[in-house]
Subunit: 215 residues, 3 copies
Amino acid sequence: MSFASIMKIFLPKDRVFYGLFEEVSSNLTQMSEVFGKAVTEQDPSARAVLLKQLEDWEHKNDEVTHRIFIELGRNFITPFDREDIHYLATSLDDIADFMWGSAKRMMNYYIDDVDDTTRGFAEIIKKSITALNKAVYGLRDMKDLRSLTEACVLINSLENEGDDMLDRGMMQLFSSNTNPIEIIKKKDLYQMLEVVTDKCEDAANVIESIIIKYV
Amino acid sequence: MSFASIMKIFLPKDRVFYGLFEEVSSNLTQMSEVFGKAVTEQDPSARAVLLKQLEDWEHKNDEVTHRIFIELGRNFITPFDREDIHYLATSLDDIADFMWGSAKRMMNYYIDDVDDTTRGFAEIIKKSITALNKAVYGLRDMKDLRSLTEACVLINSLENEGDDMLDRGMMQLFSSNTNPIEIIKKKDLYQMLEVVTDKCEDAANVIESIIIKYV
Amino acid sequence: MSFASIMKIFLPKDRVFYGLFEEVSSNLTQMSEVFGKAVTEQDPSARAVLLKQLEDWEHKNDEVTHRIFIELGRNFITPFDREDIHYLATSLDDIADFMWGSAKRMMNYYIDDVDDTTRGFAEIIKKSITALNKAVYGLRDMKDLRSLTEACVLINSLENEGDDMLDRGMMQLFSSNTNPIEIIKKKDLYQMLEVVTDKCEDAANVIESIIIKYV
């Protein structure tokens, strides 16, 4: 009997959740990096290749999220409140969905001129997911509560930055001589990018409420 | 004392929920059929008559949903988790709301040329609600779990078809020489039709989670 | 020892929630009045000053909402179900968010001609929040249940009026010779104003469910 399989017997079953959340969180990190690369890529066809990659990550994420829900149905004992696990899984899954959704919108709407607002959002999203990743990995031992809380606070302030970015982006669209079809496309893209930052905030809020309850 | 009133005494009060959900589900089936007829109707005024019928169904559905919530407040014992009943009632009600909302949009936006995307959505919605109806009626005895689960899986894959339909519809709007006002109208209509398929998926997910817990 | 501090000791800690909800509700009342003034103000720069005031109220409201969640984490005993407190706080906070969001949209989109639909929405919102305020203040002693329920019923019917207002507003946009950019702006504004009435209804629904459970 291998050491790994012995461990499996003794490893409390509820700890499976940490690993699954960490897997999702690592996926999101990769997605935000690929998206960041795509929006700074000048060549449209190279950019399309990068954007398309997000679909695979999104599918992969769907599977892990599904496994979290299966485990939730199976386990009587969970490391934190069942509904917190449910909300955290849902909001992390939403982040992946809306990131891929934003990429798809860029392709389907034939948005070829990536602008400063889009690049600004990609930066905010990357920072937000970096902080989220830290927070998710911090859940396992809950030792460094200060840095866990700091990560959540940072995500909240990045969401505010996202709001401002959307406001400025919209003001620019309406103040400049943009044609209506261009406005329709960009408005839709900006709004979806802003939702990504909202979903990061949702995830951070669940994590904060877990910390409050369990410490 | 009539047989019916004797039955009423002995009928466990919690079973009232099955009947109410079945009533909602039958309403939805009729709505999806009327909507399907409307979008293939060539004559605009005949189509308007059909679309307008959805409003009555939606009102009727509101009343049944209200009764479900009243019963939920009254009954201590429910056939499945209280929150599952709540979610199922809410998502079924949303389906009716967004179906009537889509019909209303066609009328208020003066959309006279019903296109392939709209007709495609009507088909998907009809299939999805047929499967949903089967799943809802299957809840009462939970005997044929395989077909219950299959219905839920089908609804999930129809929701994916809805996503693709929206993507293709939007690509077409932006690639063809459509005028901006037409794009605004159609985009809004397609998005609401897609939400109908989302809400069907929500209902199917609740049903799946009920199956997992109670079997 | 002052009378106030003696009271503080004996005042059941769970009663803190009433005061906090009343504070939020008073904020909302002021917000709806300022918004009502803004949309009837003819001078654009005077209007901008009024609209901008909503931001401060929204921030103030965020703080009180945050205190509600802190108290919720702290108190084991709450005057009503924990999740009802959570939903009520969230929906009241949403009202403030979307009211300020509507004001911001008017500014960021450079909407200078305030139209009848916008003014109609401001009226509906004012009436709805007046009724909501009455309902929130009625929670403390739950004595006048009839007027509490009436307030909730009124809010529900005002939400229906909001739906009709949106429908008529959209029909007008699409039937008149409005330019596409104007349609994009107004549609977005109307939809957000309609969400304000939805959120008032959400709050009223929570209050109704509290009444049903606790009386």
